[in-house]
């Protein structure tokens, strides 16, 4: 289902109003499920301002310094009159983008910022705060990626909270393997939202943002169906509102060109290499990813959207992989092609970011078996939901057969709620869609 931008805006607005209304009445707080590009940061900024206006001092808990600074900038821009606190560690160096905002003051001691209506900091820093009294409200950003033991360390700081995050992305994890707490409602390895809801589901409403401002009409239904089966969302834009154009022809046409053209046309392409079992740093696949990016740059892409037209420069292109060594191999391949500025990273590090064109090295490409790591829903979801225009997936043939013969022998733990979608199902769903846009290398 595609919806025009205005209708989308209206739906998003209605959802936001409902959330803000619940903030006023909910005894403990609210959870907001925010699918990719659904305007999470906008909501956080809005909620912070509303709470502050209502005289409720609020702390904002984000997971990384980068996220904290981003939110600080956005809040400062939206509310230049608001006095904002930025709680920081000793080693903090105020980044350039925060320099112009005089209403943002950074301190290492929360007592120095206590009077400010809104104070933003990382969870790690907030966890070191003691004897600070209680704030009436907290906004916990990326709450599904936050581990519940970290929540335990900060929950004493606030009485109520707005938890915002994307349940479809990667779960928190630990390098320690143990079943000791599996099935406990306060399992420290579960996410903050899971644990909080396990104890407060009857008083904490769960909302979902209904529209993705990032994903184009060609992608939102696909990602929604594959990764958000119970909380569907739509694109903010109609088919045709986003367009990727190649302005330069290629001298010698290759299948990579076909793939780029198909991607521009349909929003997706599956660049297929011949079936083979390989190491995960599959040289051919790695080279294909780099070549696609290089060629995209040479052909002068222009991204048209509801915001106007812009060149697709290297910074607007990303290549996503499952493993760090794959990312390193792709970076080396790009360097040898003389390309720089393109973002290459693993799904873990691409969370929260967006680009015009994304090239993905399929987690199952070249594999003989699928493991839980490679089937993990969140991984594939992150990789295929970063783009505003198009996504090209590079994969060796043979993945449907691999999925088909995958044994279903995963252990089952009592009292652990079943998570949907199942990784296997999500992979099937996405592949079924991609197979319509296959180009043989």
């Amino acid at each position: 289902m595609v919806v025009s931008t205005e209708v989308a805006a209206a739906r998003a607005k209605a959802a936001t109003e409902a959330i803000l209304a619940d903030l006023k009445t909910a005894p403990r707080g609210v959870v907001v499920d925010s699918p990719p590009g659904a305007g999470k940061s906008t909501l956080v900024v809005r909620a912070a301002a509303e709470l502050a206006d209502a005289g409720e001092r609020v702390i904002v808990i984000a997971q990384t310094n980068e996220q904290v600074d981003d939110l600080a900038v956005r809040l400062a821009v939206a509310h230049p009159e608001m006095e904002i606190g930025r709680l920081s560690a000793q080693a903090y160096a105020r980044p350039e983008r925060l320099m112009p905002h005089e209403n943002v003051r950074h301190e290492t001691n929360p007592a120095d910022l206590e009077e400010r209506p809104a104070v933003i900091g990382t969870a790690a820093k907030w966890a070191t705060v003691s004897d600070a009294g209680k704030w009436p409200w907290a906004i916990v950003d990326e709450a599904y990626q936050m581990r519940s033991d970290l929540l335990l360390r900060v929950a004493g700081l606030f009485a109520k909270a707005l938890f915002v995050g994307d349940p479809g992305q990667l779960d928190p994890f630990s390098t320690v393997e143990t079943q000791r707490w599996t099935g406990l409602s306060w399992d420290p390895m579960s996410s903050a939202v899971e644990v909080m809801l396990a104890h407060n589901a009857d008083v904490v409403p769960v909302h979902a943002l209904p529209v993705s401002w990032r994903l184009p009409a060609s992608a939102a239904p696909v990602v929604s169906r594959a990764f958000y089966p119970f909380t569907p969302f739509t694109s903010a834009t109609d088919a045709g509102e986003r367009k990727l154009r190649w302005t330069a022809a290629s001298l010698a046409r290759t299948p990579a060109d076909d793939a780029l053209e198909l991607a521009a046309e349909a929003g997706w392409a599956l660049y297929q290499l011949p079936h083979r079992h390989t190491l995960r740093t599959d040289r051919e696949a790695v080279a294909a990813c780099a070549e696609l990016a290089a060629r995209a740059l040479r052909r002068g892409g222009v991204a048209e959207s509801e915001n106007g037209a812009a060149s697709v420069t290297p910074e607007r292109i990303a290549i996503g992989t499952a493993h760090r060594d794959q990312a390193a191999a792709v970076r080396a391949a790009l360097a040898s092609l003389g390309v720089s500025g393109v973002t290459v990273d693993t799904a873990n590090r691409l969370q929260g970011r967006e680009f015009e064109l994304v090239i993905v090295l399929h987690p199952l490409s070249g594999r003989q078996d699928a493991t839980a790591f490679h089937l993990e829903t969140g991984r594939l979801c992150v990789l295929t939901s970063r783009h505003r225009q198009a996504c090209v997936v590079v994969a060796r043939e043979g993945i449907p057969e691999l999925l088909d013969r995958h044994p279903s022998v995963e252990p089952v733990h009592l009292n652990v709620p079943v998570k949907f979608p199942d990784g296997w199902e999500a992979h099937q769903s996405l592949l079924a869609h991609l197979s319509q846009f296959a180009i043989r290398a």
């Binding site: 003989q368 078996d369 013969r405 022998v409 089952v412």
Partner: protein
């Protein structure tokens, strides 16, 4: 007219009666879907155990009588007095609003009637049961069509109905200690429950919602024989079962790859003991005509494991899935070692060869010996 696929499967199995499928064997279809050898064996109902034994590869499986006795004792205990203790648990722990419930034991009326008759009676009673009265149904007979034949499922389950919705109840004798149970055993119980959910939905026809995806596991609590109940959501297991049943439905595609006269027949001697008379080497080569997909996991799930393991000696697969994965597609241990020693790789093996050489160089650097 006999189905040509059925005829071929019969020929494949040979003279023996087909091994009867039950919930456990149907669940086992999911353990190694990629194995053609297993798929043909399971579809044709061939006796993997006998085949393994006769070819000299007797499987390490067996069940202790102590476990069987304990399992039966626990089940009887749960079901005594019209399953009154169980009812109490369902009421208290699952908050099912049943003040009292009827108890219907199919065995009482039917005793030793033929499967078809028992199935028909089960169907009749369950489809016409009073939707407003909670009822526990004991010893129903369900069935599923597997590769053209009906598999009668005689679960030790009690199907419970409340307000028109059935919940499958599965009684197991592994313990739940402080809320935790062996995850492998729970997984097996879950997928077996899913088989029953599937079969019951089949029997009732119509709306699948009539049988709830939340099943009930009854198991001993801590170190006692007191039962405790836990709900298990089997939606994922249901999709797995559907998939595997569909696969088996396409067994004709697999059969096509093999000659018509291929058979695993044991040529049993006449008389009660029915000793196999077929030449073991001949049987072995017949089995080997169908490719297996061996992994060490087979050692705990399939009676042919020793046979396939022997065949797989020298392969990276025999060393384990992660090891095979590390060798990035190289099939034989000897090839991997050759590459590690510096022999020239095929063009598509260059990266793994480089890695192997690197590993070899590190071992040499540290241990002082060359590979």
């Amino acid at each position: 007219m006999p189905d040509p696929v059925d005829a071929r499967l019969d020929r494949l199995r040979g003279r023996a009666n087909p091994r009867r499928h039950n919930a456990r064997t149907i669940s086992a279809l999911a353990t190694n879907p990629g194995c053609a050898r297993r798929a043909l064996m399971d579809a044709s109902g061939a006796d993997k155990n006998l085949i393994a034994e006769h070819t000299g590869y007797k499987a390490p499986f067996g069940q202790s009588n102590f476990a069987i006795i304990r399992g039966n004792a626990f089940e009887s205990q749960v079901k005594e007095n019209g399953a009154a203790p169980l009812l109490g648990l369902l009421r208290d722990h699952l908050r099912l609003p049943i003040e009292e419930a009827g108890y219907h034991d199919f065995n009482e009326a039917l005793g030793n009637d033929a499967n078809e008759v028992r199935y028909a009676r089960t169907r009749q009673v369950l489809t016409s049961a009073d939707k407003n009265q909670g009822t526990l149904f004991d010893h129903p007979l369900l069935r599923l069509k597997i590769a053209g034949r009906h598999a009668y499922l005689e679960p030790d389950l009690i199907a419970f109905q409340l307000h028109g919705q059935f919940h499958i109840v599965e009684i197991k004798s592994f313990s739940v200690i402080d809320g935790q149970a062996d995850p492998a055993k729970v997984a097996a119980a879950a997928i077996q429950s899913a088989v029953y959910v599937h079969a019951l939905r089949d029997l009732l026809g119509g709306d699948p919602e009539q049988v709830h995806h939340q099943t009930v596991l009854v198991a001993p609590e801590n170190f006692s024989s007191r039962p405790v109940v836990t709900g298990i959501d089997v939606r994922k297991q249901l999709t797995v079962i559907s998939r595997q049943l569909a696969r088996i439905g396409r067994i004709d595609e697999l059969l096509e790859k093999f000659p018509e006269d291929l058979t695993f027949d044991l040529d049993p001697a006449p008389g009660a003991d029915a000793a196999p008379r077929r030449d073991p080497d001949d049987l072995l080569s017949a089995v080997r005509q169908v490719e297996a997909s061996y992994a060490p996991e087979c050692l705990s799930t399939c009676e042919l494991c020793y046979l396939c393991r022997d065949e797989a000696r020298g392969t990276t697969a025999a060393l384990g899935k992660t090891v095979r994965d590390d060798f990035g597609g190289i099939e034989f241990v000897a090839s991997a070692l050759n590459l590690a020693r510096g022999s020239a790789p095929a063009p598509d093996r260059e990266e793994v060869a480089a890695q192997l050489r690197h590993g070899s160089a590190l071992r040499t650097e540290i241990l002082g010996e060359t590979l």
